[in-house]
């Protein structure tokens, strides 16, 4: 059985981790920490959890150090730029860390991290041995890792959509268009004009055009898949709904291919993956079908007279895009069943 700690348990990603780990069959103990609500009970902050702590935690939001002490694995769900210190502490005590910020998403590439996040690294050695936690790309490395950088939500959608085609050299890396749309939970718990229902409901808009921080992370992943540098045009948009991401991705086919051919390749690439569903030809990925679950659904389309590949991926930004993927990583790291605690069946509505 695994003892888990969550630092930053009251942010949206944090509390989604709580939901998943409370129901996880291999987790026996859960220790929660929060700066904003220190000393309070999580079931008072999030009344959906009332009566559901299941003997794994008393719900008290305690000190972060205590969460490290009490746990085999620590999840950090904090603003960018804080996780390094916790990683150092965990390593010094023989514990594992799964970070849900961007801090460990760039392996040893400090320059890119610094360019986009404006911060130097204190522990480059830890970065050198950290692993980027996308199981479909790095499963074996994850199994052996002590520090995981959990991928961004948009990044997971875009990478799973285009990785197979780039690995197989099907598409031009010249101009990969990733037009992505996310539910509002992506803006987090902090209330702003942007996530005020009065302004975000019954409305839709792009944001961060040409300068969203998931851009370099997508480019990095797709570049690895392609084996060369790629040009990614990434635009995020905000949907008037809580959960769910769709990435609609466009690329020129290097040579004419039928939808059946590309679909076959995707089915083969993801055949063994427990959380990627390559949909039958003729259907389209839809956020509703993955809501609340750890699945990424992918639909394959060949358009413009066979010249353009269009891939649509759908996932729940809070689950496969954050907390669920972190639990998947934990399962791999602790040799648990990979689907344990995240084999949730999405509802039809």
């Amino acid at each position: 059985m695994i003892k888990a700690g969550i630092i930053g348990a009251t942010g949206y990603v944090g509390v989604e981790l709580v939901r998943l780990l409370l129901a996880h069959p291999n987790v026996s103990k859960l220790t929660l920490s929060s700066v904003s609500f220190e000393g309070q009970n999580i079931a008072d902050v999030y009344p959906n959890l009332r009566g559901l702590l299941r003997g794994k935690t008393d719900g008290v939001l305690g000190d972060a150090e205590a969460a490290v002490e009490a746990s085999d694995v620590v999840f950090t769900a904090l603003p960018h730029g804080i996780a390094e210190e916790w990683a150092a502490k965990c390593l010094s005590k023989g514990k594992k860390l799964i970070d849900l910020s961007a801090d460990f998403r760039f392996d040893d590439d400090e320059a890119t991290f610094k360019a986009w996040y404006g911060k130097d690294w204190v522990h480059p050695d830890i970065h050198a041995k950290s692993v980027y936690g996308l199981p479909e790309m790095n499963r074996q490395k994850i199994a052996a890792a002590s520090v995981i950088g959990n991928p961004g939500c948009y990044v997971t959608a875009a990478t799973l959509a285009l990785m197979p085609a780039l690995e197989a050299g099907l598409i031009s890396a010249d101009m990969l268009v990733v037009d992505a749309k996310s539910g509002i939970t992506g803006t987090g718990r902090n209330p702003t004009a942007t996530n005020n229902f009065s302004e975000s409901g019954e409305s839709f808009m792009p944001y961060g055009v040409g300068k969203h921080r998931h851009q370099p992370e997508i480019a990095r992943n797709l570049g690895k898949a392609a084996g060369k540098e790629v040009n990614v045009v990434f635009t995020p948009h905000l949907l008037p709904m809580s959960r769910g991401i769709i990435a609609t991705c466009y690329a020129r086919l290097e040579k004419p291919l039928t939808a059946e051919e590309v679909h076959g390749l995707y089915e083969k690439r993801y055949g063994g993956e427990p959380f990627v569903r390559v949909l039958p030809l003729g259907t389209v990925a839809t956020t509703k079908n993955v809501r609340g679950s750890n699945f990424c659904d992918i639909s394959v389309h060949v358009v413009s007279g066979g010249t353009v590949l269009e891939i649509v991926s759908a996932l729940d930004n809070m689950v496969k895009g954050a907390a669920g993927q972190a639990v998947q990583n934990m399962n791999i790291m602790f040799s648990a069943e990979e689907t344990a605690g995240i084999d949730l069946i999405p509802a039809a509505f």
Copy 2:
């Protein structure tokens, strides 16, 4: 292990039953039937279920007779007026039936059923031994029953809200106001002008004022709790959201009581109930906190200078208001853990 069949598996209640029973630890086999989609696969009709049939079913929507044959318990999720025949068949073969329509909600009171649903009974003998499936009211009878009438969604919310106060004689039965609001899944799968997003989104309205069919069922339950006839004013409204019911209930207190006193009584009445959460004083029941789960949250308020009791209950109309409660009944009937398969933790958002 239980073998379960669902007749009407592709309606909204039916497919919610599928979601719950696929994940139910005590259910080994699931046989599905649908008239509208006969011969198709449930995972094509509801793509959220793709790849999740877990060896319990091949997903093919077959014949209803076959679903009866293959099962220990049959769930009928059909329009009103059809379940009697299936009950007769189940009984003749020694199988149990849980009906989610109104057909078995009135025990032996054919007159009321006929007045509101316009249909005679063919098998009054079956009605005589059927049991109304509200566990918080009838747990012991349910355990021994072969035919269950699963309660209406609004009815469950209203009954759980007012039953303790009426049982204890705290409130006047003279004018019980139940102002209830439901998500749009309550209108079902059949598309209409009412549930068209363009007309129901960003809008709110009452409907069926003074003539909704849940009225006599509420009156019947509350009358039993009070031990006398009650006057219920029930108004349903349609919320611009998918799931969730709030019943805001008002009644005159027979004598002045503090909120603490009433709250104590509610906590005592529901102390042993696995799916009723009496909230701390000062908080209010909210649909978000029960979404997707089998909980009914109840908040207690004493207002108007101590003269009026106001109770707010919140539940998910598709779970505690329909499919989840049916599974709860199945668990009781088959001596399974009452929470098996329905111990879902609601998400924070």
Copy 3:
């Protein structure tokens, strides 16, 4: 032509006033003031207004004193407790003031104001001559007034719903239940956990049970209509939508009446009212049908075997519940066509 000023032009009520007054045929000049965005242009704060200032204003959010100087009438859309000083200034300069906070909603009843808003009055003389700005109740006094207290949104809905029945003595004042539901714009521009889309979307809840500040204002209005003290139970709820209020109101009929009889009385009472629509029997008030307009729709229902009167009123909380009603008051005060600038046709969806 009227010169109008708005102090607090960037709050939600303020900017709704801007929308209405920019299109108002009798308003020639508009002077805007905002503390939060002083010096900025309203079209940068609210880009919906870009290019639409129509020569009435340069859009610059200036000093409040200047707005008073430049205007014949000043609208104050500020937090409670600030309008008194502006009223004094306006009066000293021979200008009129329409206040959209609660400050002038209680005529000369300082005690009630103080009990609910916790503040003494500095200028009781101004309160003594201020007029409560509900045209359907006080049209003649409004025409002669210099200082108007514009009614609360819930209050307008509740008062228009029950005033005719109370004036005619049809219903018992013993227990008037007002179960009201509002769109999220009612929480205003300030972002909070409550109006964060992630928490308020796909959810519904009551709030302020037994202690909402619109309670004494409703009680005051209904008491005036009844000619005696009334007992109002008022519960507001938060709807997952932007605009719109429904008040579902319940009262015992003093003697048996048919729906036709009550409906006739309502039609007579509101026959000359330009902004109250008494709906045909058999239909129900719905927020969609008044969205963006100054109408209050009212539907009449007699239920529980003729013993209970149920009235449903629907209005747009930002228009008839705030800015539109303020403009209606302005029109009356300046002898303009009462519908000028607010004769907007609600869209069907």
Copy 4:
């Protein structure tokens, strides 16, 4: 003054025309026709219109022939393939016709129409003199026309977004990506599984990938702007909201340009346009800012190190995307002020 008739007045586009024409200062008479609701009153079908017919119509939904007889201009808001006959009738009687279906959107190109809509033309002569009703492209021809084909909603958004860049030869016509998202009113009044709130709320998906009928219309417009054939990849998506379209458009710049340069060109191209707002650099087009109005907002972005032009356009699919644009065309055809009746100020929320 203009006498207008609407054939198909109870569809969503039809009733939006009713809303606009009732308030139109130059329209004196409105004659309505509907097959689905013949003989009923429009205010019973759409209660938002109750009491608002303003002496222009009695609201009775009559015969289509009568609507032609009584009118100077007829709007046909019907399924595709029916308008030709009405055009012939109108022309024979010296009346003008504005068709909101696809029937007159292809000028004299019967082959493309037939390929996508599967229908031959009966009156090729009428098509030869019909005019495509996009004022920003064809204002002078519209002024002289008798038969107008009103553009598709997605098409208007995509064309206004890319036309200036193509006219100026800034971008490669090799692969123009138009990733478009529409509110659910686009699916119309007919209720379906797709627009059922329970399935479309809190969800998002593409549809008609590679085969939506607006594709050839977009390609035709952009080809005209470019002066050569273009390759358009067009994907529509369905948003969980009622109104609004965003088209996010991507194209390779033929040579490096700054955002300022492109922005300047767009400002110049649309400088005289009353309904196109080129937004300041650094802001993004958002559906909320145009909701209910006839504006198309456009934001200009240069991304990927100056290699890719990204244009975002936002409009209300029911107004500039349908009924409002039809009224704009009417205004031009009748030498009215072009903004008459459609100078609506969008609300901030």
